[in-house]
Symmetry: C2
């Protein structure tokens, strides 16, 4: 039985992944912008706001007319009119005058500050008392105070958040250039694997990986394409891989957890022109029997058939890679939310491999406590019961109870 011939460290895997080219750009409507990654800087074509606006309900004034105003000695101003929303003010504020102004209203000519309504008293005779002084610019958002003309408002590589979408709307940007979403072909292989809709005969198991890997791809905004289950025969594998390479940016073949199956996948990958095997085995646990290759420039992941291993490898390597293909910087660590916790039980790990230990988190008085979810390799329930995992580095022999760890949440 041959063993792995090119075991790579996690760092080497990330270095290989960084060598693949990112995806092409496309134009989309603003309606579909959330979560997409900008392919080009957004440069403002206008100023926001286009004119000075009030940030409060109150009165637009000349600041100098309020100097020294107090409850005891209020400033007396004549009401020049009211600023309406939706049009330019048709009034102006001269010496000794004030104009009623709503939040967001444009400042009338002559005014340079706004007194909040709380610090005014209407006298009923067309005049108000102002009981606090304001300085120039108080409660006013100046013209271009939010966005200046020609400014880079959002940089290429930014994954758009709701407020970013709002900013684009504010600037009238209704079409944007983004990186395409990664299309990932998912191929489950193995003679024992059957579709989930069928009832397994003795010896058969349902296709967990197609569903779990699809969901993982979906969770980072990728486009999973689930292919048919392929029996462990080189000819069938070859045409399945050719088909997958044709239609997708990334191919994930899962299966081959036994040595015989692994050999078939490696053989089949090697039978294509322009192949580079980056790793045949990674120094990690779970997930050692992972293949990473480039075929005609496209990345091919051969994930272990064991669902637990396949899911962990996808979490740690595939998901950050998909974000990188979509224009983000390659983060060389598992994606997602990280929390600090205190490890409840010591965990040992053999030297020479990076280990991903599943933990359940509990909130105790002093903070989060992480309890390892032990279980044999291949137990899906360990993943389902866990809230996340932590990493035992490749050269460590374990982590002692009481140490603080960073937990990557699922």
């Amino acid at each position: 039985m041959p063993e792995f011939f090119k075991v790579a460290s996690p760092q080497q895997i990330f270095d290989s992944l960084a060598g693949f080219a990112g995806l092409a750009l496309e134009q989309i409507d603003l309606e579909h912008a959330l979560g997409r990654v900008l392919g080009r800087d957004i440069i403002s074509q206008e100023e926001l706001p286009p004119r000075a606006r009030s940030t409060m309900d109150g009165y637009a004034v000349r600041a100098e007319n309020t100097f020294g105003a107090s409850d005891a000695v209020p400033a007396l101003l004549k009401i020049a009119g009211r600023v309406a929303m939706g049009s330019l003010p048709d009034i102006s504020v001269s010496q000794g005058q004030a104009a009623e102004i709503p939040t967001g209203g444009f400042l009338p000519e002559g005014a340079d500050a706004v007194v909040m309504v709380e610090y005014t008293n209407p006298l009923g005779n067309g005049e108000i008392e102002v009981t606090r002084p304001v300085a120039r610019g108080d409660n006013v958002l100046e013209r271009a105070g939010d966005v200046t003309l020609g400014e880079i408002v959002l940089p290429a590589g930014r994954r758009l958040r709701p407020q970013d979408v709002g900013m684009l709307a504010g600037l009238g940007v209704t079409e944007i250039t983004v990186f395409k979403k990664p299309r990932v072909a998912i191929v489950s292989t193995g003679d024992e694997i059957i579709p989930v809709t069928e009832t397994p005969s003795p010896g058969q198991i349902r296709d967990i990986n197609s569903y779990a890997i699809s969901a993982l791809v979906e969770s980072v905004g990728g486009l999973p394409v689930t292919c048919e289950i392929v029996r462990d025969e080189p000819d069938l594998l070859k045409s399945a891989l050719a088909n997958a390479l044709e239609m997708a940016d990334v191919v994930v073949i899962s299966g081959g957890s036994s040595v015989g199956e692994r050999d078939h996948i490696v053989e089949v990958v090697n039978s294509f022109p322009l192949v580079e095997i980056h790793a045949h085995g990674i120094a990690i646990s779970p997930g050692k029997p992972t293949l990473l290759a480039g075929v005609q420039g496209k990345p091919v992941f051969g994930l272990p058939g064991h669902p637990v291993s396949a899911i962990v490898v996808a979490q740690v390597f595939l998901l950050p890679f998909l974000k990188y293909l979509e224009g983000e910087e390659l983060k060389k660590e598992p994606i997602g939310r990280q929390v600090r916790a205190v490890l409840a039980t010591s965990v040992h790990s053999p030297h020479g491999r990076e280990e991903y230990t599943r933990v359940k988190l509990e909130r105790e008085r002093d903070g989060l406590v992480a309890r390892p979810v032990f279980g044999k390799s291949g137990m899906m329930s360990t993943l389902v019961k866990a809230d996340g995992f932590f990493v035992i580095p490749i050269h460590a022999e374990g982590v002692a109870a009481g140490e603080t760890i960073d937990v990557y949440l699922f």
Copy 2:
């Protein structure tokens, strides 16, 4: 000018929100399960695995036949055959025998442990040497060792993660009962607001809120329904609200940042039968001019017209509420990823309101540093430049530089 008449604390808002009924259930296919919230416990109808399986490539043996085995004194076993994938083993392992077995293979009759291939030497004559002893159950996942019959595998209220979807596939659960997604009608109001596709005349501004609030709703898996922009006239507002209540589970009206507009919205809400005003103003900043009402049992949020305020209020109150409607427990805090950081500059806050201060995070040698993004109220760029925000509690007067804060990431 009337002021707010029922200012609520953030805690009171959450208490009111917890009084609204959750959404109904629906059946969906497993393909669409990611991110949905289970409406019923998933109880296993079968055992996983259905029979004992090997977790390693190696040889299935009787553990007692390997006792005392070592490099110096290996145990000698006769190869009884090979376990194939996809069918039940047609061989058995008797005293002194071993069967070649791949990872995931079902244990043949008679065997009770697996020796890893690394600790065996084939002798070429149909025999192997075993150089390490195994105990019963070693490298074997027992029948039902992963999931037992009748076990609650996934509880109601669980938002399904990729591995949960995988587990459902493994159990052959192809249809699940989940909470409906919240349908949120979004109505922008204001005489100055125009669609983003139009060019603003002087005094007009583009409709940021419809886009930003839609994106926020989408970010937690809700279904935003953007309605037409409504001018600030009670009759138009009334028919827009009636229409929104008809089609959605939650109504978000944004606008009314000036006192006059706010009055219209409150009047219109009050003109419906079965109205309860929970809050007219919240003791927060930004976002004070927020209305929360129940109209015919449906929640109506009146968000400030200022995009920054509207977005912050939606982050803090609307999003956790949407998750609650969809079957999760109501978390009385902003949703999303939280990180610890050291505050770079002291921030003051008036006593009596909870303040959400936007910060930019920088990684320095000792960890994350949070720098407040200062800017006038209403500057969208403060939200775009910020990585998140932290909360200054209602009764605090600020947070000093150097203190450790929890930052909610956008």
